[in-house]
Point group: C2
Chain length 348, copies 2
């Protein structure tokens, strides 16, 4: 579907391991004073002084987490970084460094890895982080990317998942379900393409949702905004697996219950429209779709005036005593227990 | 060859992602005061106070870095951790935390992952490190392990690769080539097994070299010993790719040359004997074999009295001006330029 206009194909075997890493990382610059030594020794050396250090790691596997038939490698590199940074922001921390390891089969030429690293580089620039290390090796099949993100945060600003209290407001940033519906559109076009390889998909009506799937952003702006508004959430998590699953994490770790109001769940009009087209319930998509990389957090009610006028935030419910359970309150005012859709990777 | 006596096979699909991680990591304990928050939030939180932070990462891929037909999963888990810790020790630092991510295909039952994590746990206990995070996902083919090791070190103790000076002595710990010859023995037995599956290999004469391959150790003791001897190396690296390649790294990054004396290269008698059996030159094995995980470092000559009586250390050469080049001085006193064997993974 996405044609590769790059006709050059340099086999990876033309370079040794060290030459490959050097080639792929030569454009990366070190910006943080906390990075004392980046790539090029047995290990990187960092200096966080009196700040706390935050570490998160993710593994992305071809055919499980991404499909290269519609995911350009540059976007993949960008997304792989962003997904990790999102976890650091979810601690109310600032990401400062990443390590990137890839396993890649011989079917990828050097130019493909250059595209991947171009996306990684763009992400490091936009989010102001240093690439400080990694590993590059061959695999027998596809592409695998392992990223570890490191960040810093002042002690009193760290926000865990376990600090929510009954009566705290449940707040979400942005809107939900778009990345999942973007994936549905891309999967549909892939099937069309299989039948008729000459068809050119018109993705124009789906620009927003496809972009949310292919080029998500982590909510760096929200961490800054919360600081400006002088709001420290009582608990926080990023939405990677779907709203429902993340609410359950906050509730279980904070030992509280929750009422989530269906009518409050923020949906972009494009999501509502494509859900109608696909005959899928938009609430189900928002609850279980995942890959939104929005932030979900709780605040004490006294902080409500600070956030209420802000279009970045939507209050979608409130926390209760644990015994009352976790519920979705539907538009028809019935109460349905929240369920985590769970993890389907091993059920293929 | 190594029979799996465990007849239980629980499909991974019986557990969700969170249940799987929880199950596999439930025995791990947090020991370090620098670990404020381990597994269970969006990211781990660490506190290194005024110490510097060291970060290293490695990716191990089935059929590229290990062969499960003779590598028991418990040993693999242990080795995967040790390989990473070795990089941290090579900075003269103390490893404190690791993250472990694995991608695994459906052909592995839960019991196999339990074995893998049992090995990881043993390593965390022996080396006194905390498991603070990771990711578990499915893969379409084999097993892949990505580990990031984090350590701490006082500013003035950090040893880089680039500090060697002309006339510094080149020192190596332990002995070299055993892990590579252990691999040759295991590969040979695998071929025998293919032809005659009833054959029981007698690995007894090869105990030392097979153990060096299957269960290597990182030189934690050397970091402690160097401190006790009050020796801070001028440069240091661990030997993962072979002595020759690592010497070249030290020389290039330090902008010096080197004379390496063939007769000084430490070899275990078992290595010499098996090299004769395989008709391989033992110097070639020591230079290019790799996976020794010994430490290679340089010290200024005035520190020589502090290390000379110690059986852990062998002086194998000395550094020179860069213009003189990097040479192996053979037993016959001819000078051969050192070459890095390079990286063969992509040449399959």
């Amino acid at each position: 579907m996405i044609e590769d206009k790059n006709q050059e194909r340099t086999p990876l075997s033309h370079l040794g391991e060290f030459a490959l890493i050097e080639h792929l990382t030569k454009n990366f610059k070190i910006n943080h004073t906390s990075t004392i030594k980046g790539i090029g020794d047995d290990a990187a050396v960092l200096n966080f002084k009196d700040k706390k250090v935050v570490v998160s790691t993710d593994l992305l596997v071809e055919s499980v987490h991404f499909d290269l038939s519609y995911m350009p490698l540059k976007h993949l590199g960008y997304k792989a970084v962003v997904v990790n940074l999102s976890d650091v922001y979810a601690m109310n921390a600032t990401p400062t460094q990443i390590t990137v390891s890839i396993a890649v089969s011989n079917r990828f030429p050097l130019e493909a890895l250059e595209d991947l690293y171009a996306g990684i580089e763009t992400a490091t620039q936009i989010y102001n982080i240093d690439l400080i290390g990694g590993d590059t090796t061959s695999s027998n099949t596809g592409l695998l990317i392992s990223i570890t993100a490191i960040g810093e945060v002042e002690d009193q600003k760290i926000v865990y998942r376990n600090g929510a209290k009954p009566n705290d407001l449940l707040v979400v940033t942005g809107d939900l379900g778009a990345a999942y519906m973007g994936l549905q559109v891309l999967e549909r076009e892939k099937e069309v393409f299989k039948v008729n390889p000459n068809s050119q998909p018109d993705l124009e009506p789906y620009t927003y949702i496809v972009e949310r799937q292919l080029k998500p952003e982590a909510r760096k702006d929200i961490i800054k905004l919360l600081e400006e508004l002088n709001v420290t959430p009582t608990s926080m998590i990023d939405i990677s697996d779907g709203l429902s699953s993340e609410i359950i994490h906050l509730c279980k770790q904070s030992q509280v219950g929750c009422d989530l109001y269906e009518e409050k769940i923020p949906l972009d009009p494009a999501v509502i429209s494509v859900c109608e087209e696909f005959k899928i319930d938009s609430t189900t998509v928002a609850l279980n779709g995942g890959e939104d990389y929005e932030l979900l957090f709780t605040i004490s009610q006294e902080d409500y005036p600070k956030i209420k006028a802000n279009p970045n935030f939507t209050v979608i419910g409130f926390m209760k005593e644990a015994e009352t359970g976790m519920h979705l309150v539907t538009r028809a005012e019935s109460r349905i227990p929240l369920k985590a859709q769970g993890w389907k990777n091993f059920n293929n």
